[in-house]
């Protein structure tokens, strides 16, 4: 069977830029909300821009929550980006309290204007790697810059899920997480020039294994 990556389409955000990046790397990708097509993929990207509650509602409406859960049980590589990475967590406090996918324990909270100058954080910030060895960061220098756009961030319950951290104002937050087959970044690697491209390449290589 041909190798391909599924980008989960649940009508939240710009999926095209991830698709174009995979195309640029000569990787077959599908933008899909079809459970079968997603389950058969060699790796799955969960993107997303927008509000947490809406996103969970969309996933539910499209019967994709179960699909993601079974991907996780099958140990399929999953890569959550931005909101997609927040959805991996147990719950979010964005405009109410919402249940997430609960694949990684922890919650999603908001920046506080007392600790940071502006919300959202928009722009390039550096990521400090908390581990030396992980496939996702292979070949990427520590403290490299990535492009962020967000008002909320994740607080993993277990520190061992933290792969990278970032400081914004006086807030230090987790910006790359991992657990078993799952990785997630708060930033947009598809908008982070060469090191972002490298990160996708690393993910794809992992999916090929």
């Amino acid at each position: 069977m041909t190798f391909y990556i599924a980008i989960i389409d649940y009508e939240m955000g710009n999926l095209k830029s991830i698709y174009k990046l995979l195309e640029y790397l000569n990787i077959k990708a599908v933008i899909s909300s079809d459970p079968k097509e997603i389950l058969n993929a060699n790796g799955v990207i969960l993107p997303g821009v927008g509000a947490f509650g809406d996103a969970m509602m969309q996933l539910k409406k499209k019967n994709l929550i179960q699909v993601i859960e079974s991907l996780s049980e099958d140990r399929k590589p999953i890569f959550g980006i931005c909101l997609g990475h927040q959805l991996l967590f147990s719950l979010s406090e964005e405009m109410g309290t919402y249940q997430g996918l609960d694949l990684i324990k922890g919650k999603v909270i908001s920046f506080n204007l007392k600790n940071v100058e502006k919300v959202p954080q928009i722009g390039w910030n550096s990521v400090k790697f908390e581990l030396k060895d992980h496939y996702l960061i292979e070949g990427i220098p520590n403290n490299s810059y990535f492009y962020f756009v967000h008002s909320y961030y994740v607080c993993p319950k277990d520190e061992e899920n933290i792969l990278g951290t970032t400081e914004y104002g006086t807030t230090k937050f987790s910006s790359i997480v991992f657990k078993d087959n799952i990785v997630g970044t708060q930033f947009h690697p598809e908008k982070s020039s060469k090191y972002g491209i490298e990160m996708y390449r690393n993910f794809i290589n992992y999916c090929k294994k």
């Binding site: 174009k20 990046l21 959202p120 492009y147 908008k191 020039s193």
Partner: protein, 273 residues
């Protein structure tokens, strides 16, 4: 390590090619838009802005084609502005691969487009572009319904008036108040152009940039007036801008982006290098 300040080359485009208006009137050609964009990405540009200055509906397809070609080859954020009138236009441009749209005339005429756009696509992709021009007054009492400030380099006061239609039409609107409103309506960033300084290459309007930074919580992109690296340094240090937009100083190879970023870093401004 902190959030870095951004340097954003602006590409004024017409029919897929780059031009730069000097004071919005005289126009020179400076190359193919995607090629130039790629070149800037390699030089370390933090984002790109395309402003479609023809913006007539019959040329729309060419713009969409440019956006698509850009998103296939350039992997940094890019914003598209010019002639965006409806939520449908926003959707078309974002679908073609842009990360953000910048709204100017249409937002002034119909502020609801900001709210609608932010609701559907998220605040992060709705940039309100404001073209502001100084209106000098002798005292704040002369313009009681406007936000006036005392200028840093003279005894005079001024407020800033919003212009639309590519800087051709004054609106009587207070630019600072409009910036606050645009933020409250859901705009995620403000692209703030000084009409007094645009094309003059004598530096940004620092008083304007600074007051926007003080009054608003969303990032401010300073625009109009960059002639040398010191101007960009001043926009960050004195104007307290979050990002600096520039065109001609990069297009004509006077300075490379990397060179400017290094000079900024030397001055203690956080940069991605």
């Amino acid at each position: 390590m902190v959030l870095t300040k951004r340097i954003i080359p602006c590409l004024d485009v017409t029919e897929g090619r780059v031009v730069k208006g000097i004071k919005f009137v005289e126009i020179r050609d400076a190359g193919d838009a995607v090629e130039l964009g790629k070149f800037y990405d390699e030089q370390g540009a933090d984002e790109l802005v395309f402003l479609d200055i023809t913006a007539s509906s019959d040329k729309r397809k060419i713009l969409i084609d440019l956006v698509e070609r850009t998103s296939e080859q350039i992997f940094i954020p890019f914003t598209v502005g010019g002639g965006i009138r409806t939520v449908g236009d926003i959707k078309e441009i974002l679908r073609a691969g842009a990360d953000k749209v910048s709204l100017n005339t249409s937002a002034v005429k119909n502020p609801n487009i900001i709210t609608e756009g932010a609701k559907i696509f998220g605040s992060q992709c709705i940039v309100t572009a404001i073209d502001a021009k100084r209106v000098y007054v002798n005292s704040p009492e002369e313009a009681l319904d406007k936000i006036t400030i005392k200028l840093s380099d003279s005894e005079r006061y001024c407020w800033w008036e919003v212009y639309i239609h590519g800087g051709r039409t004054p609106t009587g609107k207070d630019a600072i108040q409009w910036g606050i409103d645009a933020q409250n309506l859901g705009s995620g960033e403000i692209l703030l152009t000084s009409m007094d300084m645009d094309g003059v290459k004598e530096g940004y309007d620092l008083d304007l940039t600074k007051i926007f930074n003080e009054k608003l919580n969303v990032p401010i992109i300073a625009s109009g007036g960059a002639g040398n690296p010191q101007h960009i340094i001043d926009a960050f240090k004195k104007g307290r801008a979050d990002a600096a937009l520039a065109a001609s100083i990069f297009h004509y190879g006077e300075y490379s982006i990397n060179e400017v970023k290094k000079l900024c870093q030397k001055e203690g401004i956080p940069m991605r290098l």
